[in-house]
């Protein structure tokens, strides 16, 4: 498993993403009032980098091997752990003062984003797609960056709460993120368990390559 992890994972990309997350949060710590949108960028980057970890460029060969998707996902999880550690460290360094006493809520955003990235990528892999994470990262990273910059409908739909957001807004955001995380975990479990209803659907629709 370790040999597989060492060879199959895009370590350079993962380390670069983790480093960029730390840099982004350091910038936020330096001037949170102006640079707060970069917190959202970091969250998007975590989602994209996590999804990318599960891409299998040699899927045509690997998918016929005896070891299944759950084994490969487990083998690739150290990279996700590294990203999670980077995020934890970044939020810890940001400190309570900067994040207005909402360290937990910020931490949840990143972890849920990672769960969503992993769930999407594993779902795609379970359906035979080779590199679903790349597509996900290409769309999600800029889309989340732009959303955190523009913060549309922020009075009613708080995705990335800001220093001026009310306590209710922070709570609403955390509830939304938690619900998203729950759905992501369910999707991940479904993808990894290879449930019978899913196999039937797959066999009906045929191969997707």
């Amino acid at each position: 498993m370790l040999t597989y992890a060492a060879r199959a994972l895009p370590w350079l990309r993962v380390v670069l993403a983790a480093g960029l997350v730390l840099v982004l949060m350091e910038l936020v710590r330096w001037n949170p009032w102006v640079l707060w949108p970069l917190e959202g960028t970091a969250v998007g980057l975590l989602a994209g980098a996590t999804a990318w970890c599960f891409d299998e460029t040699a899927a045509v060969v690997v998918d016929t091997a005896p070891r299944g998707l759950p084994w490969r996902v487990a083998a690739r999880s150290p990279a996700v752990l590294l990203l999670a550690l980077a995020w934890g460290l970044a939020v810890l360094r940001a400190g309570n003062g900067v994040v207005s006493g909402h360290q937990g809520a910020i931490l949840v955003q990143g972890l849920v984003a990672m769960a969503a990235g992993a769930a999407f990528a594993c779902w795609g892999r379970a359906h035979g797609e080779a590199v679903p994470g790349l597509l996900f990262a290409t769309v999600v990273v800029p889309a989340v960056t732009v959303w955190s910059l523009v913060r549309p409908f922020d009075e009613h739909l708080v995705v990335f709460p800001y220093g001026t957001t009310s306590a209710h807004g922070w709570h609403q955001s955390t509830v939304g993120w938690t619900a998203t995380g729950t759905l992501a975990v369910l999707l991940l479990v479904a993808a990894l368990s290879d449930a019978p209803w899913w196999r039937l659907r797959r066999s009906r629709s045929g191969p997707r390559w």
Partner: protein, 294 residues
Amino acid sequence: MSSTTATGSTLRSLARREIRSYLGAKLFWFGTALTLVLDVVILFHLDNDPGSSGSYMIAPAALLGVLGLVVMFGLTRRSDRAAEAAGAVAVSERTRTLALASATIVPFSVAIFSFVVAVVALNVHPPAGYVVPPGISNAYVYAQMFGDGVMCAVGGPLLGLLLARYLPKRGVAAVASVLLVIMTILLQGGLVGGEQPYRVFWFWTYFLSQGSQGGPGQHHFTTHPGNPYLWVLYLVTLCALGVVAAVLHDPDSDRASLKRVALGLVVGAVVLGVLTMTVGFTESVVSPEVCPVC
């Protein structure tokens, strides 16, 4: 039929196809839908923000410009893959590049519509007294809105085209969008100190915004040094330079002529950038009233 006519006809046909492809991009529609909804919010004053129409341009710049970078990067890569698959290609890279550049008419149209809505909103619901400092005209505000809103909605996709031509690697568009946003936030005048007069050389910058001094409820709106009228011309020159540089990538193009044009545009851009810094608006003008909602 002459070869020029044939090339023109091919270009028109390809341009129509690329416009259709741009219109088929989901990310474009995501950005457009949000931009239009935010236009409605500004027009009908649903957010009760007294300065929102004057600062509307962050929406088209980010939602059409930054996302447009990703869309155009993808379209260019797809065009290249199709050309590779075709083998001995009848259509040159130059023609394909120009066709892709033509597709920027799509985000341009949406951005122009959004700009018109913002101008109407600005006149129907004039911003609160503290937003525009004394002596600053409506034309100044419109020029900033046009440069940051419309020009950047076109510049983003052109940047995507340029990146796809010179850095056709996986993930480049996503990383570039993040770096673009980081640099843009850092170059907003006042964040680093000294009001950053050189910031006008960047693709997107505020000329009128809330100052960075003080905490919530203590900000004043202020102009940042720089001439927004000349800056719009600078951005037009940059966009033209982007197209020429993208065409220049084709090894079969007339590189000597294109290099001369590119050099001329670089000189023009540098001159316009320097003039933007030095002509007319070289000092900050601070609104005397505090912004109560900043």
